[in-house]
Symmetry: C2
Subunit: 416 residues, 2 copies
C-alpha cells in the first residue's frame, strides 16, 4: 500500500517553518507498513492543491495532507476538496458546539465569523473529530484513492493521527507486518562501513531494506522488513544483524532502543542507587537539559552547576587558581576539579564535567578552537579525556553532547 | 522567477530525518527573490527522480535538488542526470586530487573505490566545487530550466549554496528586489488578530504578502514585498506596519530583528554593565543553554545553578525549608529565593529563576500540572509571577522559555 503526503502552506515554501509534520507522518505511515511515495509541499492555493491531487489519484491508495485549514488560511483545503469531489459545505452542529465550548473555556472571547466558518465541512466527508482544536479532520474517497485532510498545528495533527486516522486506516485497508531495528556504530565513516559490509548488503533479501544514518561521529544502520508475520521478520533481522559482528564488530555499540541514551543512563544509575549531576562550561546547560527534558529524570538527576565564568568555576566548584594558571581553564585538571566540585555541592554519586572552546574565537584559554575536555567521576571511576572536534560552534556542541552521553553510558555499563 | 526544490532520500520519506535542507533552500531562494513553487521529497531511485524532473521542466526556471550523491547512495542523482541529459560520466582529476587530500588529512584511511567514483561527473556539467566534502555540486541546463544537484549533508550543502550557487544564480538570472519584515505580537490569538486587521489585510497591494506565524503565546506577522527598488519596498512595508498600531497596538512588541531575543537581552545587559545568571528547576538548564549557544554570551552570562532536587535548592541557593513547607517548591517565595541565591553564588547583577511542574505527573509540589513560577531580580527590580500553561510537558518547557525571555527583555528594556 502506498501513500502521498501533501503539506500545504507558503510558510513551508519560504522556509519560515521546518516541515516536521511531513516527518511525523512519514514515520507514522511507514511504521504501520505504508510506503510513502513522495512528500509534496505546496502553496496554499487551489490550483497547486488540485495539481497535487491529480498526481496522486489512482497512483496511491492514500493521500494525507496537512494545513490549509483554519480561519486565516481561508480554509483553502476544504474549498478545494469540495471542488475536487463536486461537493458543497454543510453546517455541522456538533462541531459548532465544540468550537463554542473551546472559546468559552480557553479563548475567553466571543466566537467570531471566521471561527464559525470552521463548523462548515464538505457534506460527504467522514469527519475526524478534533477534540483539541477548531479545525476538523476529513476523510473522503474518490475511486481507489482516499484523501485525508488534517490541521497543520502539529499538536492537533498528531492527536488526530493517533486517535482517529490510524484506527480508520487499519479498519479500511489490510496492512503488512513491519519491523524496524537500528544498530549503533561509533568510530567508522559511512563509506568505510559500506565497503566492509558490501557483500552482506548485496545479499539482503528483497523485503528487507538497509539505511545508513550518519551523524557526527556515529553511523546508525537501520533494517526495515515487510512481510506477513512480525515474529518471523524479527528473527530475520536479528540473524542479519548477527552476521555484521564478524565484519564490523569492534564498532558496534548495541541497538538503538526506544529509550533515548539519557534515560538508558538513568536506568543504570537507578539500578545502582546512584544520582547524577553535571558541571558545565562549554555545554552551558545543554547537557543538563538533555536529561531534564524527560519525565522521570528527577529520580536520578540532582542538578547542575553551569560555570560559564572562570570565577564561578572557582567559587562554586572549587577549581584552584593554580590549576587554571598552570593548565588553563580548558584542561584535564580543571575538568576533574569541576566534576568533583559538583559532587560536593549537590551530593550526587556521579558527575560529568565539560570544559572547552567551541569557537569561533580563541577565548581566554590558549587552546585550539574545538578542544573539549570531558571528565567523569563515579564511586570507582575517575576518567578524563581531551578531544579536538572542529571549527564549527554548533557542531562542536552536538559532538560534545553525543560524546559525553556515549562516554557516561560506556563507563557506567562497565560498572554493572 | 520560480524554482522547484527536490530532496532525494528514503530517510526523508520514512521520517528518519527532518528535511531541514528544504527549509534552508526555501528560505535562501525566497530571500533572493525566487518564488519556490513546490518542494518535492522523493525516493532515491531513478524513476522517481525522472518524474520529478518532468514536472519541473519548462514549468520553473530552476530546480535545486539535494541528496542522492555519495558512495552509499550509489550516486543515483548523477546517473539520473546523465540519463536525463543524454550525457556520460567523465573523470575529473581536480576532484580526485581533492578527495585524496581530504582522506589524507581527515579520514586517515586509503581512498576506496566507492570514494574514487565521486571524481566522476557528467561530462557537460558546470561543477560547483565542494571544498568541504567529496560530493561535488553540479549545474546543468535543459531548454529553459537549470537543474542543480547538491550533496545532502547540510553543512556541505549550505557552504556550496552560499559560496557557489547564489553567485552563479545572480550571474545567470535577473532577480527582483525582495524585502521581508516581521512584527512580533503577544497575547492575541491568530483568528482574533485576523478579524481586527481584516480590512487592512484586504487592502494589501498585490506585490506584498502577509503571513501569520503563531507559536505558543505569540503570533508573528510577516510582510514580504517584491519589486524593483529595495528602498521603496522598505518604505512601503514600514508604512503598512505603522497602520497596524491603531488596530492592535497594545499587543505589538516590536519587530523581529536578525538578533535572537537572548542576544538582544545580552546587548541591554552589556549597555548597563550588568551580568546574568539563571537558577533553574523545571527548565533544567535549557534556559542557560539558550544563552550559551551563541558566541559572545560569555561577555554577560556568568552561569547557572540547575537545582532539580529540592536539597540542591536549599544547599546551593539558600531556599529556606519553611518556605518550601509553607508554600511548596513551586511557589513565588521559592522562585524569588532561587533568583537571589544564584546572584549571591555567581556575583551576577541580574538573575532569572524558574520553578514549576511540567507534568505529566503531579510531583512533590501539590500544584496543578502546568504551573510555572518565574522570578526576576535586578538592581531595581524584584518581580515574580505565576503562570498555568497546560498539560503537555514539551510545550510547557517551550512556553516557559518563551515567557522567561519575553519577561526578562521587557523588564530590562523598562530600565533603560
Amino acid at each position: 500500500m502506498r501513500a502521498d503526503i501533501i503539506t500545504i502552506g507558503d510558510e513551508i515554501l519560504i522556509g519560515q517553518v521546518v516541515d516536521t509534520n511531513a516527518t511525523y507522518l512519514g514515520k507514522t505511515l511507514n511504521n504501520i507498513g505504508i510506503e510513502v511515495r513522495q512528500i509534496h509541499s505546496i502553496s496554499d492555493n487551489k490550483e497547486a492543491i488540485l495539481d497535487a491531487f491529480a498526481t496522486a489519484q489512482d497512483q496511491v491508495d492514500l493521500v494525507v495532507m496537512t494545513g490549509g485549514l483554519g480561519p486565516t488560511k481561508d480554509d483553502i483545503t476544504k474549498h478545494t476538496l469540495c471542488a475536487y469531489f463536486d461537493d458543497t459545505l454543510a453546517f455541522y452542529p456538533d462541531v459548532m458546539a465544540h468550537i463554542d465550548e473551546l472559546f468559552r473555556k480557553y479563548v475567553k472571547a466571543p466566537v467570531n465569523d471566521l471561527n464559525r466558518g470552521q463548523a462548515m465541512l464538505p457534506s460527504s466527508c467522514t469527519q475526524l473529530f478534533n477534540a483539541h482544536g477548531t479545525a476538523m479532520g476529513m476523510w473522503m474517497q474518490k475511486e481507489k484513492t482516499v484523501f485525508v485532510s488534517l490541521p497543520g498545528v502539529p499538536f492537533e495533527m498528531k492527536h488526530l493521527v493517533q486517535e482517529k486516522l490510524i484506527p480508520l486506516i487499519k479498519a479500511t485497508f489490510s496492512l503488512p507486518a513491519r519491523v524496524h531495528k537500528t544498530m549503533m556504530t561509533y568510530g567508522l565513516g559511512e563509506s568505510i562501513i559500506a565497503e566492509k559490509i558490501s557483500d552482506w548488503e548485496a545479499a539482503l533479501p528483497q523485503h528487507i531494506k538497509l539505511a545508513y544514518l550518519p551523524n557526527l561521529g556515529r553511523v546508525r544502520l537501520r533494517l526495515s522488513a515487510s512481510g506477513t508475520d512480525e515474529a518471523v521478520l524479527h528473527q530475520e533481522i536479528d540473524a542479519l544483524f548477527a552476521d555484521l559482528y564478524p565484519l564490523i564488530g569492534d564498532y558496534i555499540k548495541g541497538f538503538e532502543s526506544e529509550q533515548p541514551i539519557e534515560m538508558q543512563i538513568g536506568t543504570v544509575l537507578t539500578q545502582k542507587g546512584w544520582t547524577l549531576a553535571t558541571a558545565e562550561s562549554c555545554t552551558g546547560g545543554a547537557l543538563a537539559a538533555l536529561f531534564t527534558q524527560h519525565p522521570g529524570a528527577s529520580t536520578f538527576f540532582r542538578g547542575s552547576v553551569v560555570s560559564y565564568a572562570t570565577e564561578v568555576k572557582q567559587q562554586l566548584l572549587g577549581v584552584q587558581q593554580q590549576d587554571i594558571e598552570r593548565h588553563t581553564v580548558v584542561s584535564e585538571p580543571v575538568a576533574l576539579s569541576m566534576a568533583k566540585g559538583v559532587i560536593r555541592q549537590t551530593g550526587a554519586h556521579v558527575a560529568i564535567a565539560t570544559t572547552g572552546n567551541f569557537g569561533p574565537t580563541q577565548g581566554e584559554a590558549d587552546v585550539e578552537i574545538g578542544t573539549v575536555v570531558i571528565a567523569i567521576i563515579a564511586p570507582n571511576i575517575e576518567y578524563v579525556e581531551t578531544f579536538i572536534f572542529g571549527k564549527h560552534r554548533e557542531r562542536n556542541l552536538r559532538k560534545t553532547l553525543n560524546k559525553a552521553l556515549e562516554l557516561l553510558h560506556n563507563k557506567l555499563a562497565s560498572e554493572l
